[in-house]
């Protein structure tokens, strides 16, 4: 199929008036002055409402006694497409398997949420959170303590009322 070219004919300068377009634009401006539609937020005093499926930085769930829920099964580093999770498993003094090292490089993370989806014990979650600023790049590798300290709400990977997004 040949490429069809449409030639736009512009009115020549001096042969057309821009008054109508100017008035149209000004009328919109005046309408907003009388009946404003507000889209900006007075952040940080006002906080935005995040979608329940918002996927932000991670958080590790903990047991009542403060131990991480993670059992170091190794599924999240396996499934992670960005290869940003480092995990070294071990055994604690009660004979439970637990993560000796659990680190997530939030810079490498693509926030796909597959770690949360694959976790058999619902330990690692992506969170509804976006305020991640730090003073140094090295602070973006979150270790286990940091992940356990995070207390923002976790993400619902799907809407419970509409699990198949229908």
């Amino acid at each position: 199929m040949a490429i069809s070219v449409k030639v736009m004919r512009r009115p020549e300068a001096g042969r057309t008036s821009y008054m109508r377009a100017t008035l149209k634009g000004m009328s919109l401006t005046f309408r907003h002055m009388v009946r404003p539609t507000k889209v900006t937020l007075e952040y940080p005093e006002e906080q935005p409402e995040l979608s329940p499926r918002w996927r932000g930085t991670h958080r590790m769930e903990v047991h009542a006694d403060g131990r991480p829920k993670c059992v170091a099964c190794g599924l999240c580093p396996t499934v992670c497409p960005a290869n940003c999770i480092r995990l070294v498993g071990g055994e604690d003094d009660q004979g439970n398997r637990y993560p000796i090292v659990y680190e997530i490089d939030e810079f490498r993370c693509i926030f796909c949420g597959m770690c949360q989806e694959v976790c058999p014990v619902e330990a690692i979650h992506v969170g509804q959170h976006f305020e991640n600023a730090e003073y140094g790049r090295d602070r973006f590798v979150y270790d286990l303590d940091r992940l356990m300290e995070q207390d923002h709400p976790t993400t619902l990977l799907w809407d419970p009322s509409d699990p198949r997004s229908e």
Binding site: V71, A72, C73, L75, T78, G89, V121
Partner: protein, 536 residues
């Protein structure tokens, strides 16, 4: 199986609509395997007897009143077998459901996860949802001694471990106690697996995560490990093994089947001794100069300097080899000794030696040998003489004070003093680690360990066996066959061998004991040397 001469040697049967001819006496399970159909099985293991008790290998044989256990049913002429018929499938689903009645389904924390047969079969054919409502019985875990932990809840009661200890190790230390759903594997009173020389194999043959290795516990997931065919470096029997590596570290050693050498097994001594391959602090860059004059150099400069020094060297050459080095490296060292103008004064190697051999009674070919190094026989064939005591020490008094050229390959010289080689006109040290005794060396050249290169060993049976590269070597370390091969090639004015097969070809051409062997012929399974040359 007996063949009385009247019957044909082979039988022809039909499995899943495919005609297959197998030798008489082949089980249906093996016959199916020969056409690429895996019949699930737990209790059957090719190295053990077949009690047909796990009931998962049942297949439909037309004309038989019931499903037949394929591990003990022999193939017969005209049989029509269905491994995947609705009846066989329904039965397998039922058996798997029974196995899961008390199984804790703790795959996330189970070390076997990823290589577990129960996981595989249930994933393939099991029910999507369990129907059990009763609580599962709980045993917890039991320390069997040695390197073995037992998780009773995960056990499928195949009794492979019990039969291994009875039939192969011939040291009955495990048994089934109780019956029915209360049945567990246990040791006899407080006599566990401690001190049993081959008990680690029960971990390998356990089809589920019931028997796990303490050493490997929680260390790595099965799917993260890279498997490299190799040769066990811990005795001169040279069991065929796989290096299981992750993050450039050896995580565990597993036996690799070779019926000529080790069957399906390996000893616990060999299995446990791999940490030395992960030892940090390696020599990383070539260095030239004695004592305080030592400076780093790149390979080209170091080899050019060394070649010039060797050409002008005074006195004869004392060579110290190492029985942990490959044949290619040792042959390169021997050839270099001949090329240096002064000629060779002597070739020695040292090796630790155990007080006795440890045989595996049920598989007589496999013996933990006295020489606790992989290539003492290869070193012997290549003209090196064993020196020193049974701890692998001493025996280098002459070399230490040798006035000519001293070339040390691989040996760490840990027992030697700082004045080692002080009188030498030229002292070259090719090693993996620095050592106090290398202080007087004019050249310190970093080489790779056997896990970081390709090559061959000769085992105590006179068998040449190949190992492959499983680890990435440190920065500038090079295989010893390459370093020595480059020097020899410089003397002879030929091309440097560019690969281990090339180095092996030159070795085979130079040494009559290796005559006729090629890299391809050695293959993954190894090849025997000409007998009289090997043991002459």
């Amino acid at each position: 199986m007996a063949n009385n001469g009247r019957k044909a040697e082979t039988v022809t049967l039909t499995i899943d609509g495919q005609e297959v001819t197998v030798p008489r006496g082949t089980s249906l399970l093996h016959a199916a395997e020969s056409i690429g159909t895996e019949v699930p099985h737990y209790c059957y293991h090719p190295g053990l007897s077949a009690p047909a008790q796990c009931r998962i290998c049942l297949v439909e044989v037309e004309g038989a009143p019931k499903l037949q256990p394929s591990c003990v049913t022999m193939a017969a002429d005209g049989q029509v077998v269905h491994t995947d018929s609705p009846a066989a499938k329904r039965m397998r689903q039922g058996v798997l459901e029974f196995y899961l009645v008390n199984h804790p389904l703790d795959c996330p924390i189970c070390d076997m996860s990823g290589e577990c047969k129960l996981q595989d079969y249930v994933f393939d054919e099991g029910r999507e949802q369990g129907r059990g409502r009763e609580p599962k019985r709980v045993f917890g875990r039991d320390d069997f001694g040695g390197d073995v932990l037992y998780y009773g809840d995960r056990c499928v009661m195949c009794t492979r471990c019990v039969r291994f200890m009875d039939e192969v190790a011939r040291d009955s230390r495990l048994t089934v106690v109780e019956r029915g759903s209360r049945a567990v594997i246990d040791t006899f009173f407080d006599r566990g697996l401690d001190g049993a020389a081959f008990a680690g194999n029960v971990v390998d043959i356990c089809p589920v995560g019931a028997l796990v290795s303490k050493d490997f516990l929680h260390k790595a997931r099965a799917w993260d490990l890279d498997h490299t065919p190799s040769i066990c470096p811990n005795c001169s029997h040279g069991c065929n093994i796989e290096l299981h590596t992750r993050d450039n570290l050896v995580q565990r050693l597993k036996p690799r089947e070779n019926q000529e050498v080790n069957g399906h097994w390996m000893c616990d001594y060999g299995r446990a001794n791999y940490e030395w391959l992960n030892r940090p602090g390696r020599l990383e860059a070539p260095a030239v100069g004695r004592g305080s004059d030592r400076r780093a150099a790149d390979w080209r400069e170091a080899l050019e300097l060394l070649f010039a020094r060797l050409q002008a060297a005074e006195g004869d050459v004392a060579l110290v080899g190492s029985a942990t080095c490959s044949n290619e490296a040792l042959a390169g060292l021997a050839a270099l000794g001949e090329e240096v103008p002064g000629g060779a004064a002597g070739r020695v190697f040292r090796s630790p030696r155990a007080p006795d051999e440890v045989p595996l009674p049920g598989f007589p070919l496999l013996v933990r040998r006295r020489d606790l190094v992989p290539n003492s026989d290869g070193a012997g064939l290549l003209g090196f003489e064993r020196a020193g005591n049974d701890d692998g020490q001493g025996g280098l008094e002459d070399v230490a004070e040798h006035g000519g050229v001293v070339i040390v390959l691989g040996d760490e010289l840990a027992d030697q003093g700082e004045d080692f080689g002080a009188n030498a006109s030229l002292f070259v040290y090719l090693g993996t680690f620095d050592s106090a005794a290398a202080r007087n060396a004019d050249f310190v050249l970093p080489i790779t360990t056997f896990a970081e290169e390709e090559g061959t060993f000769v085992n105590a049976q006179g068998r040449v066996q190949r190992f492959q590269q499983g680890l990435r070597p440190p920065e500038s370390a090079r295989p010893a066959w390459l370093v020595l091969g480059a020097l020899v090639a410089a003397f002879r004015g030929e091309k440097t061998p560019d690969s281990a097969p090339e180095a092996f070809a030159r070795l085979a051409a130079a040494h009559p004991a290796f005559e006729g062997l090629t890299w391809e012929a050695v293959g993954d399974g190894g090849a025997a040397l000409v007998a009289e040359a090997a043991h002459g």
